[in-house]
């Protein structure tokens, strides 16, 4: 039963100094290094997949507890542009609009998971073009001018808003990726077509 009797090389030979790094330690250290590496890669992979969804965007404001009822006619909203609240029974079709759109429809689109990108009507043409380039091809974005906007560009999702000074701000792209049908969406899977409004482009 004695291990040492079957494995005589385990200890140093009598009278010989201990020099060799013992095999057990080599195997164990190797195992630890290998597992740390595997665990590191595994954790990196699982968190990296979720980076867009979990990374906070600087400057984003959150407005909780918004009413979701349907209401005919004009609605007075607390935020400019609105980020939620009562809205029309019809939603606004997503896409690019050249003229301001009715907030009562756009808010319904926010409820369906749309991001609404608004800009001051006097925003320089090249800035507007930059916005269009970024919005084009996104299925759940409305782009429209909005009079008397508090900052040149404002991106809104249901209960969430980000004010920007210019169209080239990289946070706009991060906002669109994070919040189009993002975790804030009250009605997941709802459409941003078949509603009202005819966008000039999508």
């Amino acid at each position: 039963m004695s291990i040492s009797s079957r494995r005589p090389r385990r200890g140093p030979a009598p009278g010989m100094p201990e020099r060799r790094f013992p095999l057990t330690l080599v195997i164990l250290s190797g195992g630890v290094i290998a597992l740390v590496a595997i665990l590191g890669v595994a954790i990196y992979n699982t968190t990296q997949d979720r980076a867009i969804a979990t990374t906070a965007i600087e400057g984003v404001k959150v407005f909780p507890g918004l009413d979701r009822g349907h209401q005919d006619g004009a609605v007075a909203y607390e935020q400019t542009p609105p980020v939620g609240g009562p809205h029309n029974a019809a939603w606004l079709n997503c896409g690019i609009y050249e003229e301001p759109v009715a907030s009562e429809y756009a808010v319904h689109s926010l409820e369906h998971g749309a991001v609404w990108v608004t800009y001051r009507p006097d925003l320089p043409a090249e800035q507007v073009e930059l916005l269009r380039r970024q919005v084009r091809g996104n299925g759940y974005v409305v782009l429209s001018p909005y009079p008397d906007l508090p900052s040149p560009v404002v991106a809104s999702a249901w209960g969430i808003q980000l004010s920007l000074e210019e169209a080239g701000d990289p946070r706009l792209n991060a906002f669109m990726r994070k919040y189009q049908q993002g975790p804030q969406t009250p009605e997941l899977g709802a459409a941003c077509t078949q509603g009202v409004g005819t966008p000039s482009q999508r």
Binding site: S2, G31, T46, L188, G189, A191
Partner: protein
């Protein structure tokens, strides 16, 4: 243990390092095992799997009912709600089928839909499709044959019941699983269908009709 007595003098120090390494190795293995386990897809019988199948089946009836009536009614408000319901629920069916596909599980379960266990108000009970708001096909078929104004009322009555069942099923699932895409959809179904019930109650009242018990 007698062999310990014959080990050289420096053995306790090396034994200490060995022990520490063994402990670290075991801890890392446990962490890796936990990570692997946490990222595993759900298996047959998991509440997330049952929910995906049951709710897909449930949504199919809603899409059928909504499109049957949308082909007939001219009421603009109702037409909008009907297309909203059909598109939303069809998209959610796609989402749930996609999960099953990614989890490597068939869309059809070993038992008929909505016959498993559910929890409601802390009690566990066996589901039935009726309890979950599935309407008899004979009633659904009437949406295509009744005069339109009667079909509209019947639709609202049936769909309120149907929605109540979906909410019950989603709530039961929320108490049984923490799997994030599933809980997120379940919460969205509860929020969305609760507000649609309120809307349909108003439309029923507009038509001078009552809800079914």
């Amino acid at each position: 243990m007698t062999s310990m007595e014959t080990t050289p003098n420096n053995a306790p120090e090396r034994g200490g390092i060995t022990n520490i390494l063994v402990i670290v190795l075991v801890a890392l293995s446990v962490a890796l095992g936990a990570l692997w386990w946490l990222t595993q897809p759900p298996q047959e019988g998991d509440p997330a799997v049952t929910f995906s199948r049951d709710m897909s089946y449930h949504h199919q009836q809603a899409v059928e009912m909504a499109l049957l009536l949308r082909d007939r009614t001219d009421d603009p408000e109702l037409r909008l709600i009907l297309i909203d319901m059909a598109l939303t629920q069809q998209a959610q069916i796609g989402q749930m089928s996609g999960w099953l596909e990614a989890w490597g599980l068939p869309i059809t379960g070993p038992q008929p839909p909505m016959t498993g266990q559910m929890t409601h108000g802390g009690e566990t009970m066996t589901m039935t499709p009726e309890m979950m708001g599935i309407q008899p096909q004979s009633e659904v078929n009437k949406l295509a044959t009744l005069p339109v104004s009667e079909a509209e009322v019947l639709f609202l009555q049936l769909m309120i019941r149907h929605h109540r069942g979906a909410i019950l099923m989603a709530e039961s699932t929320l108490s049984q699983t923490q799997r994030s895409p599933v809980t997120r959809l379940a919460q969205s179904i509860i929020a969305g269908q609760e507000s649609e019930i309120a809307l349909m109650q108003k439309l029923l009242a507009d038509r001078g009709a009552q809800e079914l018990p």
